[in-house]
Symmetry: C3
Amino acid sequence: MGLFPKDTNFYDLFERGVGKVHEGAQALADLVKDFSNVPLKAKRIKDIEHEADLITHETIEKLNKTFVTPLDREDIHGLISSLDNILDHVEAAADKFSLYRIPEVQPDAVLLTDVLIHSVKEVQTTIGKLRNLKDADLILKHCIEINRLENEGDFVYRTAIAKLFEQGGDPLNVIKWKEVYDSIEDAIDSCEDVANVIEGVTLKNS
Amino acid sequence: MGLFPKDTNFYDLFERGVGKVHEGAQALADLVKDFSNVPLKAKRIKDIEHEADLITHETIEKLNKTFVTPLDREDIHGLISSLDNILDHVEAAADKFSLYRIPEVQPDAVLLTDVLIHSVKEVQTTIGKLRNLKDADLILKHCIEINRLENEGDFVYRTAIAKLFEQGGDPLNVIKWKEVYDSIEDAIDSCEDVANVIEGVTLKNS
Amino acid sequence: MGLFPKDTNFYDLFERGVGKVHEGAQALADLVKDFSNVPLKAKRIKDIEHEADLITHETIEKLNKTFVTPLDREDIHGLISSLDNILDHVEAAADKFSLYRIPEVQPDAVLLTDVLIHSVKEVQTTIGKLRNLKDADLILKHCIEINRLENEGDFVYRTAIAKLFEQGGDPLNVIKWKEVYDSIEDAIDSCEDVANVIEGVTLKNS
């Protein structure tokens, strides 16, 4: 033990943070699978996002008070900020369902949310491996998988938009759905941003 | 005084830069409050953006010629680049009003621009405190406030879009207004990006 | 020669990477100039994007195995990731032409793709100069040119969108074209992101 032991509690904060992200993404998946009581479920997701914000602020506070950090300060900051972004987009998707009074769900929303859930689980696994950065090959493999899921998300997203165009009908309905799909896809993109931060951290410390 | 005194003029450049951002945001707020002579006012905002670009280039030039910088070179670069982005989006919003020949203003544009003005003022205050990075608690508090304003902007933005959908009417008009609101919201998001850079700098140097 | 000679092969990887970006952007320019066999040409661009992905993964693998790198690890990672993004957006544009069954090309798509080609060529030239970072003034001049092209892209983009509005007609057609233009503009924006990374690297090492 040195004079300034590295504070491992940052890892606890990461894990609690990504736990909230998982909780929020799961709540969104539940919402699109059972499209009832939408405003209430959207409100619950907003609450989860708020709880995650508190973890983010706690992490930043801790960074500010901690002398020796287990990872570079800017990487801890980048990691917690990019995690935060995932939930922002999840919350936006839920809020749009409610605010835009979307009457019924498109089946593709379930598909796209499935990709999001897979990606968030992969992010959760990867963050769980940060305590042992020496296992770089394994961590980088997970990051590649998150990248692959982002590509899969792109495909599902574009196919969903193409279907909206084919169905035709009220253009305002198309725009509303594009807005919702955009937010879910942004959430998946943000998982890739987290993977990028982790990839960078791993390469720096391996 | 050491052999290579730290060059405090970088702070002057940041303050001149954020001053231009404030000038541009204020000009946009004036435009939406008095929606006349739109092309002329949009042109004026483009000029302000160009003046800010010159400050950005001067900062980069100075970085390139300066041996010892008061903050890490990448942080100075990140700060000035993210400041630059705010005005890019302000200019885009003004340009779209003009180019898309939008005939009259929506009241929500005033509300959203108000959030932008608050956020830009907060950014200006925070940048004014960078000369004294030891006052980390205060700087971080301002960053949290900029984050809060970004959330408020999200709310105003989504409510404005929901109203466009409720009003119904010409879908092209809805798309035009979404484009304008997107640019104002992007400007508010860019304020949060500046806050993120400042937060990172503060945590690194505190 | 020191004990750990710097590995210059990273520069080869950057040059092969940006070569693929140029190949993909050129294929997109060819597609919009001769708008026939769109699905086949879009497939070819997807293949190019996949080839570029392999170079990205090879670079990350190499970073993971290399002890002394010619640039900071995070900068190599940032450079290769932002290069990768350009092709992602090029591929998205091509895919949308195909998926959304767009029947004929708008002349502005040719203009916007021309800006993209110019910007990609400029990125290619700039990356070719990274082996000699001491020539900072020249590199920074190229970065300013890439910024200027991004502004030009903004102008062409907004004018193209304004024309879609003026033409009026089917709103779904307007939305489809906005989607395509968005992807081409995102590709141009990603060129600016590469320039930002290069600018940062240059300022740090000059």
